[in-house]
Subunit: 461 residues, 4 copies
């Protein structure tokens, strides 16, 4: 069915029908569309444009349509341009002319975007929950495995020893920002466009506040042109998703590295790894790789919608129909990534021994030695130079820092005392970083405490 | 079925199976996968790794599987990770152990990318044909409607009169570049990766040249690591598609403008326009709008794959599985845009009168007046100034250039003669632009002649 | 000068020095770097790592360096890798070894990102002010020019009459969202990374809260790894800028359309338009075109940084140096666009008559006629059909809706009464759209009132 | 100076002058602009629009202006909108009215794009040379270091042993495609737009073929509208650059991995590495990191120009001025990356021993064992299963494959013979991969031979 046609004499070309149809993807919004129609009918009854009876019969018919949709027995027709048309057509088939009254004081322009906002509110709330779920996994692993001393890297070169818990909590705080971002996003979604008509509002004395309340929106959009032309909320969601997945892509990259035989820091659970059709020994971190890759996919979605919206004059243009597929794909991609990432992280095994042993390579406490000298009064700049020479010396001899004797240290500076031998131990290095935000066990515990508070769940629950 | 598992003790998590499965989208490659397997079997027979009989039974079973796929009765199983696994599983169910021999000297890494190249070769050839189809429409409309004088714009301000045919041929030449680009792309696709194994080649003495010939590839890829790690051809296609759609988006923008009531230069055929659910008078250029928007979508796909491939170490990484959906979507989007755009352009009606009348506004022959003076010896810079003043004069009086008398012209410069009255006629302006590439009727005919030659079809065919 | 080198025996290659140097762009941060160093020195004194005297002499020397920078007489050296090195070098030249002490408990990793956050805090606040400035222009123009009835469009086809003020206020509310977005962004910037060292924090007992307070940050970042690895705030800013410019690009597109001779709705002030080197009559809306284009540029910057950050393992990687140029360019582009757009909008002239006259074309009150019938009890669906036929009738006769007599209306439905003649007047159409968010004069006044309240400035100020 | 103004009564706003000026970046094109003007003058003389003397004086004055530019003593004025205006102004200052004649039969629209094509032709040729230079380094390193057996990876998991030379040659062939792409690009740049005027061509009887020949273009563009509206060539270059840098980003990622202490496969030369301001032991692969990051920057540039060009109506729009900065930045970024990458690769040291030893871990010859069984008649599917079990056995015992005795092998299959002991040696695995494109020493030599032929330089030169 078409919702228009009076002024047309020719049928739409088959190719055009297919090209312009949004039904293949917007049928996902059937539940939202039905809720919106139901509330619209109640509102029309409230202001006297429908009788109570009409509104009720519409409500009942919508319920039946919903059931048919859920059972998969709803019959779509080729000429249904979109989910809104399909439902209105079915309504008229069921109720006759009364079904046609639902279109009073409403346009597809405000209806479609209301459906989309309803949908995205639900999905954003779900996303926030999934983020919290992953944060919970991070906290638990930090609590249970976090005391291990492991190498911290910059430039993928060994830099300074850190606690595994410190590393895990870094991701907790990235996700904290993600959550806040999605919360801001949720606020921006939570406004009702319904009642804006095609673009200019409506001549009927509708009650938008009532509709907003019934649909659970916090308020109505103040300008009808803006209401039907605005897709900021979808872009906001995709920008948030891009950044969130960027964070997961970083962790994924690390997990790919860490389960290489060279690093050997983690072992994926077999239920979260896959093999090779040709190489019998392979156990691949496919989940981490795919999460990393899907980040690019979501960037692409963001690029697409930003590009679509650029330079569009007000109000609605058909270009805006391209909002849905990229948004749906972003929602699906992000939520599945969050789920599977949580599972992967929960089940993987840390090789604590390997991590710890690894901190003895790469002169990871060289900064501690320089700090030691600076603490004894040598300008840091000079201390840096001295330790650089010590490193050069060790490299030449094939020694580690912990192989150095006090005597050897003293060759480089008279300031070295016997305590230097303690200073160069990786665990000691970690313990001594005890200011706010640093990697000492105490500070990591503080972070976990803060995190628990933010999540609102006591430890062990 | 899984193609691996020997070293695993645990089942893959359900969530992971779903997350990593490519079957929902790579089943599109079933035909290519079957062709590749058939040729691989023949090749294995040729080098003695299969008996003739085995190869034949495999060939026959593959044919049966293909039929089942085409009839839609092939039974996929949840554990089928991808189309390759599904087909191998079915083969083994049909043939027993012989089916398992097909995996000799082959990996999914080289198999999957061979399928994809086969597919994209076909689609690129199809794309080139669709471009030629649109070029043909452009030529025909230029031949039949091209003599109309219309406004040419810069900055969307009226600039100089041009022929409609000149405008249409501008798009012909953009599409000419698109076609060449896709031809270059086709060459880059046309190389066989099969025989590269997982990454290092194979220990079996396979005959890659034979497989290339049988599958219609022009040659084999020289380096096995490169063969399985390379997705340039997919990026190439998406870059070509982005530029091609960018061209169509420009024409679409113009058509949207031109069928506004303000311009009124074209009327969409009713079979290529749609209406509004609320505004009974509307006839909207949805096709042009959607083509314009889908340009953004394809940009997004390009961004996605470029991002996915950035920084991936050799050889295959699971990230590369993300190549398919964006590529398939790009192919589908581009081909449907080309088809529907051709139809729209073929059926739309030009309002020749409106176009022509419109050239009398906006002082469109002001440059001709300046050229006139320059031709009489005034430095162009000064001529520009003089005509600027004439325009200011007209604006003040609410006059058009063609309302000016010789006497009035003479007030601005003694160089004006009576022939100036001819010079300011829009059609004359067009006729006088007669050098190569300019807009005179003769030059536009030359362009059409060149175009016909490039397309290889004589006029009227 | 280099801040490292002890373990190196070879000089850095000239090409590498140039390639890796960030001085050409990060010198913009000299003021922030000096402030951060000054506060760091005070903090070191506070915890006893510098004497008061040392801190003071450092403070004084920094002041001198700043003056030299501002006068443009500071001497950079080829070997200065970045602004931090240049300033530290100069400090040591001035003070000797004491200058080298400033590096205690600090790394370039935390220092550089502290500088960048300080800078972006300032620029974000400035951006918010510029947005408010543009909002103010919108309100003023809506107050002074807003009562004009003009065509509202969908699909760039005439849709329904609206008030110019309604159109202008649509942009006000887009900018309102932009402002809120930048305010959220500002919060995310406003956290101090200093004290995180290279990645693991520091062994010195520093006072981060003190530094935060002195530098005006609202708090310290909780995890040192996150602190040096995080560039979310820069991406946030660029996402906000992308959306804000997307809004301006839409308005720019409209202004380009509106000052075409076909629309003729606005005239750019001559001080905001440019001419052509060859066509003496041209007056081009270059500012609007460039704002539209620069939107693409900022999208590119966003894409760039998102791509750079994808898949980076913790903590700092040199890749992150690429954050600055795209961020600086985004700041410069956005702020100049906001400024010049405000000026353009403030100075342009609306052609009220042309706008109003234009509402009589295109059957813009057809919806009102359908609403009229629906109001009389006809299902909207049927009313739509009837009015579609009226439009068809008018098209055939070359009539406008306002040319229809009551008798002619009655031929299409018996429900039409004499009041239909009033209903089809564009101004009446606008007046009747009087629910919240609709385009009636009363509602537009409400919007302006809301807007004034949001801006915190009474009318006339 | 402005090239227009006759019809204007007001000065351009200062802010607008700054905002629209392209001089800060297009001054880079001064040499091209002068060459184009010189040829244009000669052409005008040839067709009698200038006297020989006038053309000569213009040529001489242009030469002087060029000298001033090169010496840095050319005086730009604030009102110079772009390099074209600046040069024309200077010309008129030198020659008086004759200078103004140069604008005959030319517009900034065709002039600017001619300059840009000239520039990009030169830079593309230079880029191709730099690619060849890097290919040469790859060949040399493959010749000198290529025989080392190293681990090949998929999913960053050890997969199969390969030759270092094979790995290096994979990049050679990627760069081969890059070179071909830039050669295609060069062809698309190599067409002359000059003579297309503002958009419609020119009324003067100019000789475009002459100008093309003098400027070294292979032909003229066939349609004047297309000539001034087309920026495909710039997008082509940026797409090529994106793919080329994508390749370098992959190699960069590998180098970052390889010089981690975990992999230890390479050591950067000290002249190509940098240190840390705080950690004295650090030696960071900054060059590789920055090349990887700058890939994102160039992706951003591509996104920007694609977005700018989307939906632009013909012909020239000011939006297109945004082509230059992103193009220049792409040229600069790509050429500097190619140069510095070549140097880094030329100077780095491969740790052959570390690479070779590493192939004994990770069961890298498991596929060879499966192939061995398949060769003896076991279906590959079953062989894969058997070897999976062997791997599981080894993992349990902490054994390598090479630790297995024949007896132990025989426990898993009766098909194992004594030659299996040879089969599991990494070098043997490589040697046995001897078909076209595989990794055996013979095949790698073939690749090098092919590569040398492609580069046109015999070995040792």
């Amino acid at each position: 069915m078409k919702l228009w046609g009076g002024r047309f004499e020719k049928r739409t070309d088959k190719l055009v029908e297919e090209f312009t149809s949004s039904l293949p993807f917007d049928r996902r919004l059937y539940d939202e569309d039905i809720r919106v129609s139901d509330v619209h009918a109640m509102m029309l009854a409230r202001i006297g444009l429908l009788t109570e009876e009409e509104a009720k019969s519409i409500g009942k018919a919508l319920k039946d349509i919903k059931k048919d949709m859920e059972k998969g027995i709803f019959k779509f027709e080729d000429s249904d341009e979109d989910i809104h048309t399909a439902i209105e057509r079915a309504l008229i088939e069921k109720l006759g002319p009364v079904g046609g009254k639902l279109r009073t004081a409403r346009s597809r322009n405000d209806q479609a975007v209301t459906d989309l906002r309803l949908y995205l509110k639900k999905e954003t709330a779900e996303t926030i929950k999934l983020i919290e779920g992953l944060q919970e996994v991070l906290i638990k692993r930090a609590e249970n495995d976090g005391e291990t001393v492991m190498p911290g890297y910059t430039h993928l070169q060994k830099a300074q020893p850190i606690l595994l818990g410190h590393h895990l909590m870094a991701y907790f705080f990235m996700l904290k920002r993600d959550k806040e971002r999605f919360e801001d996003c949720l606020e921006s979604i939570d406004r009702l466009p319904l009642g804006s008509g095609a673009l200019a509002g409506t001549t009927f004395e509708i009650d938008r506040a009532y509709a907003a309340k019934k649909l659970g929106f916090s308020g109505v959009i103040e300008n009808s042109l803006d209401a039907v032309s605005d897709r900021d909320f979808a872009i906001d969601f995709m920008a948030c998703a891009s950044i969130c997945l960027m964070h997961l892509s970083r962790f994924s990259e690390e997990l790919v590295l860490w389960c290489s035989s060279e690093f050997g820091f983690v072992e994926m659970d077999e239920s979260y790894a896959t093999g090779s059709s040709i190489m019998p020994q392979k156990k691949n971190p496919d989940v981490a790789e795919l999460v990393r890759a899907k980040t690019g996919r979501v960037y692409g979605n963001l690029t697409a919608l930003l590009t679509v919206m650029k330079g569009l004059p007000l109000a609605y243009n058909r270009d805006m129909q391209e909002d849905k597929e990229v948004l749906f794909d972003t929602v699906d991609t992000l939520t599945s990534c969050l789920k599977v990432f949580s599972g992967m992280l929960r089940t993987l095994r840390f090789n604590h021994g390997k991590m710890y042993d690894s901190t003895y390579d790469g002169f990871m406490t060289a900064t501690d030695v320089a700090d030691y000298l600076a603490d004894k009064g040598m300008p840091f700049k000079d201390a840096h130079e001295v330790v650089g020479n010590i490193v050069k010396h060790c490299l030449g001899k094939g020694m580690r820092l912990t192989d150095m004797s006090l005597a050897e240290f003293s060759d480089f500076s008279a300031l070295f005392g016997r305590d230097i031998i303690d200073v160069i131990r990786p665990r000691r290095s970690v313990e001594r970083r005890a200011t706010v935000g640093s990697t000492s066990p105490g500070q990591v515990k503080e972070q976990i405490k803060t995190a628990r508070k933010l999540l609102g769940r006591p430890a062990g629950k």
